[in-house]
Symmetry: C2
Subunit: 384 residues, 2 copies
């Protein structure tokens, strides 16, 4: 990863290059070992004027040449979509070693342009007519849950406190300061009940991952396997009783991995607004329907809990540079599975889940991906 | 396909929807049969303000829901890159039936924005410093070949005449009028030696293809198999003697298909400027090095020649709505292989090659793809 934050002195390419090179170094390979590459970016067309060949402009500079490079874009799920394509490419036997790199530079001289670009994560014909945007959509979902008694205002405040506490432990995070419940509650109201300290911010950053056929690379410590990769786009609001898009992806991923929610040791989920973590805990099957409040209140999702969520700080504290987020989730989970997560290390995790979603089209995400990662070696094999 | 041309009354989504639905009808399937989809578009972020979820906004409107949809962007090679991802997806066993749809609407109220967006097919940090653009790059290559005696001015004029003659036979083409050599030669000079009638134009349009695992769909006439799919991105100008990116892709594709250039019965190549067809004839191995002029002069590339090229009219006459072009090449070849190409039908072709390239980075294409298609049934099986 390149750290997430505000980097006026660095170009979009600078950020991406750092993440890509670090991923290669981490894998112990050189650029000549990479056989295909996917780039994830969601906004450079509108923000930097660089459409069409975004990934190539980055990868050229690190010396990648004459391999297939494909630019992938799927709103806030761009990073995980690039990862999914990398996994497909290895699975199809088309390449043994594939690089996926996600990057975004949202701080530009005119932030109104950034807001316009963010709006295009929905169908413009729809949102411009409705006059609606993302924060409002999250807020309405939360208000309904509060009205139904499924969540309390304390829950959605405290989940933001937890997010910032984790972010404070993550050197790659945009927001690295603990906050109190009072500070969260009293922060500027963005869309009732959301306050500023619950929301992800405009952010620069990059993240990358190397996906390889098993056995193609020399082992450099614990091996992390992609046990499942499931994606979907959903356009219409679900009738009552029908599962959400992320639930559908998770169910597909559990089936693919031969696992269930109770096997998951930690998860990174798409908390573009911190309280969304609570929605996803239920949608991913981590707690029974209607019991997310008690699940959270029991401390389950803390770093020392039974199912730590967003140990990185999540989107709301680690930051959410759109094209990079899905791969930053993967970086966090790989570090955790290897025991390299420092002060935020979960105790000996073996199975991790990443849920990344993006865009909005009439009540559902425009894209969602769930990946399940598995540490293959037992913990005492590498670090007694 | 949706016809290529200028359609002020139609939105980008209108164009794409027509192509997608026609591909489904052609395959004899409904939206519920599609298990994954790829969208190819290169400019909508800058031209329509619709970044991030371009494909979803289209596919939602035809009723596609809850399948993986991924937006792919690779400059002028976006369409073939989407096709390549569709092929990978089937090959990986992740889906049996995949839709790829490419679309572009380049006519907008301010055509200066279209030119800016086209510029972003190269690394802006490079082209803005050099003050160079695509037409000039093609012109310099051609001037060198003329200076070396490999091509004559007559060759590059007459290949444009052939392109327009083919376009005149294609109801989907943007330019459907025959032109004379004198008209080509005397047309407005764009970048010496290129004149207006040699160049592809600003264009709206869409094209789509359905890729399926063999046996997954009921046969509705001759089956066309994807015999090879090879792509690459190349960033650095080649040293003398080293093959071009399209040559490299073609060699890979020939190997994958177990075929050679002499097996190819017809080809669609990326003639963004009509004379580029001559460059590609040599790069794809259709004629010996240095012999492209005599190959062309012998009429080999005409519809009734030994290796018809760009029977559709190619980019320069069929039109080049950037994201759609790679899939329009596939549509033409599939029609030809099935015997459905009407007045421009080649006599009983069995093997066809599509070469699509895009972008420019310091002397090479930012992306290129070569696909080889094969008609499986003998010709007399279906149409005696």
């Amino acid at each position: 990863m390149h750290p997430f934050g505000r980097f006026p002195e660095l170009s979009l390419k600078d950020l991406a290059r750092v993440a890509a090179v670090r991923a290669l170094l981490d894998a112990g390979i050189g650029v000549k070992d990479v056989q295909a590459a996917y780039s994830a970016n969601a906004m450079a067309g509108m923000l930097q004027g660089q459409e069409m060949v975004r990934g190539q402009t980055v990868l050229r500079e690190i010396g990648i040449d004459r391999i297939p490079v494909v630019n992938v874009e799927n709103a806030c799920a761009s990073g995980s979509s690039a990862l999914a394509q990398a996994v497909l490419t290895v699975r199809a036997g088309a390449a043994d070693v594939v690089l996926a790199v996600g990057f975004e530079k949202m701080y530009v001289s005119d932030l109104a342009v950034t807001l316009d670009a963010l709006e295009s994560a929905a169908d413009l014909d729809v949102v411009r007519g409705l006059g609606i945007q993302f924060t409002a959509i999250y807020a309405m979902r939360l208000r309904r849950l509060i009205a139904e008694g499924a969540l309390t205002m304390d829950d959605i405040v405290d989940v933001a406190v937890k997010s910032h506490a984790n972010g404070a432990l993550n050197p790659y995070a945009q927001h690295r300061k603990e906050v109190t419940a009072g500070q969260v509650r009293d922060a500027r109201r963005i869309a009732d009940p959301l306050t500023l300290l619950m929301c992800s911010s405009i952010c620069d950053g990059a993240a990358a991952a190397v996906v390889a056929r098993r056995g193609a690379l020399e082992s450099r410590g614990p091996t992390v396997r992609v046990a499942a990769s499931r994606g979907a786009s959903g356009f219409t609001a679900r009738p009552e009783g029908e599962s959400s898009l992320s639930t559908m992806c998770a169910e597909g991923a559990y089936e693919q991995a031969g696992l269930g929610p109770s096997d998951i040791d930690l998860a990174e989920v798409h908390d573009a607004m911190a309280p969304a973590e609570l929605l996803y805990a239920e949608q991913l099957g981590f707690c029974a329907p209607g019991e997310v409040s008690s699940f959270f209140r029991a401390g389950s999702t803390r770093i020392d809990g039974s199912l730590p969520m967003n140990t990185s700080g999540g989107l709301s504290s680690r930051g959410h540079p759109v094209g990079a987020t899905g791969l930053a989730q993967i970086a966090e989970l790989v570090w955790q599975l290897r025991g390299e997560a420092g002060a935020r290390q979960v105790e000996r995790p073996r199975i991790a889940l990443a849920q990344n979603s993006g865009g909005w089209l009439e009540g559902e995400s425009a894209a969602a991906n769930v990946h399940i990662l598995e540490r293959l070696e037992p913990w005492d094999w590498n670090r007694p």
